[in-house]
Symmetry: C2
Subunit: 341 residues, 2 copies
C-alpha cells in the first residue's frame, strides 16, 4: 500500500514531513510517496542517518503561497504537492493522501480533484476525542462553519460508519452537541437537526453538552464546523496548559509532579488525545478517496501518526460503506453495517 | 447592603442555599434576604449550629415546577421566590438578586420584572474565565443561542465595561471567538460581527481561537450563547476530569499527585476557575438591576461565592456605566470608562 504525503505542506516542511514519512515507512511497512520539490526532498532524505527504505519521491515543482487564493492557485499551478498527491489517489496510484498544509486548501483541493461521494452534501472533518470511557468521534471540526440541519444528519451517518469500521462498534450512539440536554435546547440549527435525527434510523441518544465530550455519553457527537473547531482548539489549549505545567515543574526540580502525571492514566489519556502530535490528523469524510489533514504545526512524530492513520483508513472498507450508505437520497441504506458490508 | 437570595432555586435547595446565604452574611458582612417558603427556610436555619446573623426571611409561597412554562408560571404564580426576589431589586429593597434555579427561568423573569437597560438588544451571561495570564471574560455563555452581529458588538461593549469596573482594566482587549485567527475565518455571524467590531471604537484585537481562551490574548471574548455555553461546559468537564484524577490518586494512596497539584499553581488556577463551586455564578448583563445566576448544582460554598459576587457587583458603578453607554443607539458613549464615570 502506498500513501502520498505532501512533503511541502506545513510549518515544518519539508524537513519534519520527510522525516515523518521515512519513520512511518520503516515502522509500519507502508510505502510513502514524498510529493513535492524533488531537490528539496532529496536534500532532506540525505540528512537522514541511514538509507530511507520504502519511500519514493514524486516531483511536484509548483509551490502555493500562503497568501494565494486556493481555487486560483490550484488552476494556475497544477503541479503543486497537494494537487499531484490527490491526483495519485484519484488514479489509484496511492491509497490515501496526507497533508499538513493549510486545511482550507486541502479541503478545497480534495473536493475539486476527488469530488464528493455521490449523495454527500458537505464533507466533514472528524476528530477522535479522548475521554475517561473510551474514544468518541466529534464532527465537523472545521470544514463547514455554517451548516444546515441535513448536514448534521449526514455527519451523523458518516461518523457512525466511521466508528463501526474503524473501532468495530455496533450501532454507535449518536449525540448532538447542544447547550442543554433537553430536546428544546439548542440554537435554531440544533433544534431542527434534533427532529431529523430522531427519525434518522441512527442510534440517536439526544443532546449532549460540552462536559459530556469527556464522559463517553455518545460514540459520535455531531456539531457544525464552527463550534467543533472551537472545541477542538480549546482541547488543544488545555493539553498545552497541562504540558506547560508539567514542564515548568520539572524545570523547577519538582520531579514529583512529572511522576504523578505518569501515574494518572485517565488524565494522561485525555492530554495525549488532544495533543496533535499523538493523534496525527483528521480524516476528511465524504470525499471520494482517503484524505488525512494533519495539524499545520506537525513535526515528524505527528506526520508518522498521520500516515499510520491513513494506512488504517485505506486498509478498511469504510469508503465503500460510505458510498453505499450515502448514495440513497433518504439515507435508507445507512444501516449497512461493518459486518454486513 | 441587602442581597435577595432565591432560597428555593437549585438542585440542593433549600438546605444548601440557606447554608450558603448564612455563610456569606457571616463572612462578608452583607445582609442576605432568604426568599422562599418561610417554613422550609426556618427549618433549615434551625439546623444551623449557631444563631444566623445578618439574614432575614421573605415569604414567597409559590413554587414553580421544573415542567412548567416559565412565562405562564410567572403570571399565574406572582409569589415565587424568583419573582419576589426580583421585585425587591426593582423596588430598591435589595441591591442584587441571586438564584441557582433554572437559568432560563431566571433570565426570563429578570427580563420581565427588571426589563432591559435602555438600548440593550439582548442581555448576556458573562463568565470570568481562568487562564495562565490573568482572567478574561467570556460572553454570552447561554442567554442567546441565536445571535445577530449587532448582539455580539453589544456584548463586547458590556464586557469591556465589566472588566473596566470589576477588574480596573483600562481599554480591555476585545477578541471575537472564531475558527481561525484570520479576518476571513468564521461563520456568517462572526464574519459580519468582525466588520462591525473593527469600527466600534472598542479595543478590538481580532479573532481568537479556542486555545487562546487560556492564553490571555484578550480580556473580553465575545461569542454567541450557544458556542459560549458549549465552551463553558467543556471547561467544567475538564475541571471535573482533573478533580477526579486527583481524587482517584489520593484514594489509591498516591499522595504525591495531590501534593504535586498544589505545587502547580497555573493548572490549579485553571481548574478552580472552571469549578462552579469557586466562581459562584454568572452575572446577567444588560438588565436593569444586578442579577447573578448560579449553577443548578450549587452547594453552600458556591452560593456563598455567588452572594459575594453579587455584593461586589452592587458596590460598583457598573450598572450606571452600562446605562450611560448603551442608551445611545450608536453606542457612542461606550467609552465612558471607570475613571471618567
Amino acid at each position: 500500500m502506498k500513501i502520498a504525503l505532501d512533503a511541502m505542506g506545513g510549518d515544518k516542511a519539508p524537513g519534519e514531513i520527510v522525516r515523518g514519512g521515512i519513520l512511518a515507512a520503516e515502522e509500519f511497512g507502508v510505502e510513502v510517496a514524498l510529493v513535492g520539490v524533488t531537490s528539496a526532498i532529496r536534500a532532506e532524505i540525505g540528512k537522514f542517518n541511514h538509507p530511507a527504505v520504502g519511500v519514493s519521491v514524486v516531483d511536484a515543482p509548483d509551490i502555493i503561497g500562503m497568501a494565494e487564493s486556493v481555487m486560483v492557485a490550484l488552476k494556475q499551478k497544477p503541479h503543486s504537492g497537494i494537487a499531484v498527491g490527490l491526483e495519485m489517489v484519484k488514479r489509484g496510484e496511492a491509497s490515501a493522501f496526507v497533508s499538513a498544509g493549510n486545511t482550507g486548501a486541502g479541503m478545497a483541493a480534495a473536493l475539486m480533484i476527488l469530488d464528493r461521494l455521490p449523495g454527500v452534501l458537505r464533507p466533514a472533518l472528524a476528530f477522535v476525542t479522548p475521554g475517561f470511557k473510551g474514544v468518541g468521534l466529534l464532527l465537523d471540526v472545521g470544514a463547514n462553519p455554517d451548516c444546515k440541519p441535513q448536514n448534521l444528519v449526514q455527519f451523523a451517518r458518516m461518523g457512525s460508519l466511521y466508528m463501526e469500521h474503524m473501532y468495530k462498534m455496533s450501532r454507535p450512539r449518536v449525540g448532538l452537541l447542544s447547550n442543554g440536554e433537553e430536546e428544546e435546547k439548542g440554537n435554531r440549527l440544533v433544534r431542527e437537526a434534533h427532529k431529523l435525527l430522531k427519525t434518522s434510523g441512527l442510534n440517536f441518544v439526544g443532546n449532549v453538552e460540552g462536559k459530556d465530550l469527556l464522559r463517553g455519553l455518545a460514540d459520535v457527537v455531531v456539531t457544525d464546523g464552527f463550534t467543533g473547531n472551537v472545541v477542538l482548539k480549546l482541547g488543544e489549549g488545555v493539553a498545552e496548559t497541562i504540558f506547560a505545567s508539567v514542564k515548568q515543574a520539572v524545570e523547577g526540580n519538582i520531579p514529583a509532579l512529572a511522576t504523578a502525571f505518569i501515574w494518572s492514566p485517565p488524565l494522561l489519556d485525555v492530554y495525549k488525545g488532544y495533543d496533535f502530535r499523538k493523534h496525527g490528523g483528521v480524516p476528511l469524510l465524504g470525499v471520494n478517496g482517503h484524505v488525512i489533514l494533519a495539524h499545520g504545526r506537525s513535526d515528524a512524530l505527528a506526520i508518522k501518526h498521520a500516515v499510520r492513520q491513513a494506512q488504517m483508513l485505506a486498509q478498511g472498507e469504510l469508503l465503500r460503506a460510505l458510498r453505499v450508505a450515502l448514495a440513497s437520497p433518504t439515507g435508507e441504506n445507512t444501516m449497512v453495517s461493518a459486518e454486513e458490508s
